[in-house]
Symmetry: C2
Subunit: 179 residues, 2 copies
């Protein structure tokens, strides 16, 4: 681990704003506790075997569930998904509010609730690696099931910000604090 | 590490096609050897400190350079970037072809060539963690410099496929082999 190798770095955080992301709901389940949350940071990391990574803030309840159960699901939201649907997944905590029972889901092979409402496709993964990055963990998972639910455009983070006028969660890896 | 925990998974690879990505040029430098390549898999992983991850195929020359030098740069391509500009970064190997000397770049604090042509912003990072995923490596880096170069829309992977009719590289994590 090298750190602080370069003296007085010049970092303009606006430079990160142009990164492109989608918008997804990630769920997990540990025994009888279910939860889900919105994330913009899901990425496919290998094709053979199909593996995906998701980055989750340690403060989130979903993080706690994934650490316990080592499984998670991901739903790719449609561009037409209304904020009233996915908003509660982003700005309410599953510790105080049962997010899952208000939406359509089915149980996956991992036991995770698969959110199928307003989703183009849904996947489940089994965690094979967890990378601790301080505030966040990168969970890397082998995809164990995946299904296409509908056709259409995915909701992008850019569309969420520019058209829907959505805000970033302070728990997002891409959050920029007011300075 | 759990593997093969679930019996006979049903995996539809089309389910991954709806993930959203941008398009970037990643460069590195090891001593006097410079190279760069197109990637769609760059992601911000934490906000404090600002850290980014990039996923690179082990077959790529840029992978070899990052492993040696532990530094890389990333340029966010503009939507208007022509295929004739970034195409050679995706489909030619830096082992046989000097990609860098044909384009405008400046040297960063890490020594990496920063591609500033057709780019909205450029960043440099110092690798703090490497995760071996078989065919690919996830490099996680502390951002040590970043700069905004221009305003406008970033080039997305969707735009590259749908409007520019671009193809995926067989070395991409998101590549789907014909079946």
């Amino acid at each position: 681990m090298l750190t602080g190798h370069y003296w007085k770095p010049e970092i303009d955080r606006s430079a990160f704003r142009n990164f492109s992301y989608g918008l997804y709901i990630v769920t997990s389940r540990a025994e009888d506790r279910l939860n889900g949350q919105v994330v913009n940071t899901i990425i496919q990391v290998t094709s053979e075997p199909p593996r995906i990574a998701v980055i989750i803030n340690k403060r989130n309840f979903t993080h706690e569930l994934i650490v316990k159960s080592k499984v998670f699901s991901a739903s790719v939201l449609k561009e037409s998904a209304p904020m009233t649907f996915f908003g509660p997944f982003g700005f309410k905590s599953g510790r105080e509010f049962d997010k899952i029972s208000n939406v359509s889901f089915k149980e996956g092979v991992t036991g995770c609730p698969l959110i199928i409402e307003h989703a183009l496709s849904v996947l489940e993964a089994e965690v094979i690696n967890e990378i601790d990055l301080g505030t966040h963990t990168v969970f890397i998972g082998d995809v164990v099931s995946s299904e296409v639910l509908d056709e259409g455009n995915p909701l992008t983070y850019q569309y969420y910000h520019q058209v829907l006028k959505g805000k970033s969660s302070p728990n997002a890896p891409t959050y920029e604090a007011k300075r």
